[in-house]
Symmetry: C2
Subunit: 393 residues, 2 copies
């Protein structure tokens, strides 16, 4: 019996473990100080009430013979796929029913989608990057190339025709940087992918944070995307579903590679290795897309974005370079005084009692940068910003 | 961009599609006749009330800030893993916390677990077989060997030391045959696997149907299993969770292959490609293992097993050979008069208005056999059995 030895090539990430350890030690040393975390990528506000109501009703249905639901469709319930189709229609994107797959979250689909691709493909990911894009390909033994994000390109790297890539990851609004590609920039990526006969895996998990209506919220809004792009999204950040688990993936019906419809291959994958998203959860997710549900979800996002504004304003006052925070819950800043990411982490924790995430944990281009998140409570954000100002002014 | 061309080697299964088509056509031709299905593998009874209550309460928790749950642990909530540990303790199996992984169902884990194994392993599966075991390995390009189930071995094939295998699938109580390995038989498999340094993937999804206390309900009850076996199970059939989605996988802490702890590799896989089972669903699943929940679940199983008895009794009266039905919801019978599986299907549909599943759909050794299931309503089972008797007497 041989194990998949590609797993041995995975780099262990000590990022969040190291952060936890440092914070634990600091709290033990200074129990009287309040440490505020602007480091987490998890939501803090509760689910919209209509989602709760829908899930309670659906749970009740499971308790009587007449309304009980057994196995559902692998690709999700009709009502939920219709809700997604309607949501995309409002974005100006027409989807066919069979292009939509409901999942238990974007992370599962980001990882599992690779199953339908040969291991002998070259992968292109931006740096800094959400580690899952790299790790899932390392597990399959694929070659991974990096494209540098930096201050010059606002952490929005553009295609380089001298690089031949087969699988391209784009995340916009970006995790960890919070930067957002414009329509023109995404068009350049779509043209590059079509020319290379590559596939773009587009992670739209933060699309609901886009406030600037000139910015795209879906790559499928870009001409030509339906022959090169798969869009993977989630309700985790849109409506607080991080612990409730529901996402969706759109595979355009016209997307053919190597003579095969990717949509059919993905259906084959899901029907063989997945048994559908829980009925109860899909009912809760459907409610997000009702007028009332979406308003409630947007109220939470407005709350986070007000937090983001407080952070941005402070950084402006301090003259610190950053991207993000306008159409994303993430703010990606340059560490002041040319500190390294971990040096700034230590300074912030020890002198301002604020926790953030060292940029170097997201790739080599993240060194010297730092991520703050707008999830959390308003009063905490205010206190943290006052401490930051006192420290750096 | 190259697709995973192993997918092109998958055999399309037209089994259930063909059944649906034939039934649809029959119903259109004879709209006045009531067709009874004993072909489905899905439960029909509702969830235990305590599960519904628990999920309604958990849904409510998601609606307020104080009780909201964001990202959970990849391996499942502590309360749910404790419930599984307690359940195994009652089976005489002591599990450590870190050996238990909560999932969204056995099918996902059966498919995803292969991720940690090299593609250059030889797979051994019994024939007839649950098609997912074969398809998931075909997708990865693994070589699959079959071990014949037949009347002589009661469809419980035993290890053959002349065959070298790395990954072995066992399902007991078996789908599709309903046969159950004894402790001695499982011991022979465990010894064989340890000797070969193979890994057994043990599918225990039907363990709750075992009524004979001398039969094992877990391979981990067998000495030596903790160095060769992974157990994958589910609440789908135990408590009607087919549409609610919760399962669990046990990876013994002492299971090492190729110098690696499989438990650690599986944790790496799950933490990279899975974000945990919904909190609400885990609360419902926890309730199954309360005294009240388990009693309610067992009442449903008793109901199905009473159905199974009616079917067995009829087959006994008709002198038809079969296995299963005593400790399993499945009854696997030899088609009378040496009919082929599909010939018997047609006869049963056209002359008795009863639908079952042709055994040939589960592998070449299934030809000439037929699967009936005990899921369904008592009155329907009675009518179906009367029709069967009238047809075959």
């Amino acid at each position: 019996m041989k194990i998949n030895r590609n797993y041995l090539n995975l780099k262990d990430s000590y990022l969040f473990a190291t952060i936890s350890k440092k914070v634990r030690e600091y709290r033990a040393a200074y129990p009287e100080r309040k440490v505020i975390s602007l480091g987490i990528g998890d939501v803090t506000r509760p689910l919209p009430k209509v989602c709760v109501d829908a899930m309670q009703k659906a749970s009740g249905e499971m308790g009587t013979m007449e309304t009980f639901h057994g196995y559902g469709d692998y690709e999700g319930c009709d009502f939920m796929r219709n809700a997604i189709a309607d949501y995309y229609a409002k974005k100006g994107v027409t989807l066919e029913d069979r292009e939509i797959f409901i999942s238990d979250g974007a992370k599962s689909d980001v990882g599992n989608f690779l199953d339908i691709f040969d291991t002998d493909n070259t992968v292109l990911v931006p740096d800094p990057v959400y580690p899952v894009y790299v790790d899932t390909n390392t597990m399959a033994g694929r070659k991974v190339l990096f494209l540098d994000g930096n201050q010059e390109n606002n952490f929005l790297p553009m295609p380089d025709k001298s690089i031949k890539a087969d699988i391209i990851y784009l995340c916009s609004p970006n995790n960890p940087t919070g930067s957002v590609y414009t329509r023109d920039q995404l068009k350049a990526w779509v043209d590059y992918a079509n020319e290379m006969e590559a596939v773009i895996l587009f992670d739209a998990a933060y699309e609901a944070f886009v406030r600037d209506s000139s910015l795209p919220t879906s790559i499928l809004q870009i001409e030509g995307a339906n022959t090169c792009a798969i869009e993977i999204s989630s309700l985790s950040k849109t409506a607080g579903f991080t612990g409730t688990r529901c996402g969706y993936t759109v595979v355009p019906a016209g997307l053919v590679r190597d003579g095969q419809l990717l949509r059919d291959l993905w259906y084959r994958r899901q029907s063989t290795k997945y048994n559908g998203t829980p009925y109860i959860i899909q009912r809760g997710a459907e409610a997000v897309f009702s007028a009332e549900g979406y308003n409630q979800a947007m109220e939470n996002i407005d709350y986070y974005m007000e937090n983001a504004k407080l952070i941005s304003k402070t950084l402006d006052e301090l003259g610190i370079w950053y991207v993000g925070g306008e159409n994303s819950p993430y703010i990606w800043l340059k560490c002041p005084n040319n500190l390294s990411s971990w040096e700034f982490f230590d300074l912030l924790l020890n002198r301002a009692n604020v926790v953030g995430t060292p940029g170097s944990g997201f790739g080599k281009m993240g060194e010297g940068f730092f991520r703050l998140t707008a999830f959390g409570e308003r009063e905490d954000i205010k206190i943290a910003m006052e401490s930051l100002k006192a420290l750096l002014k």
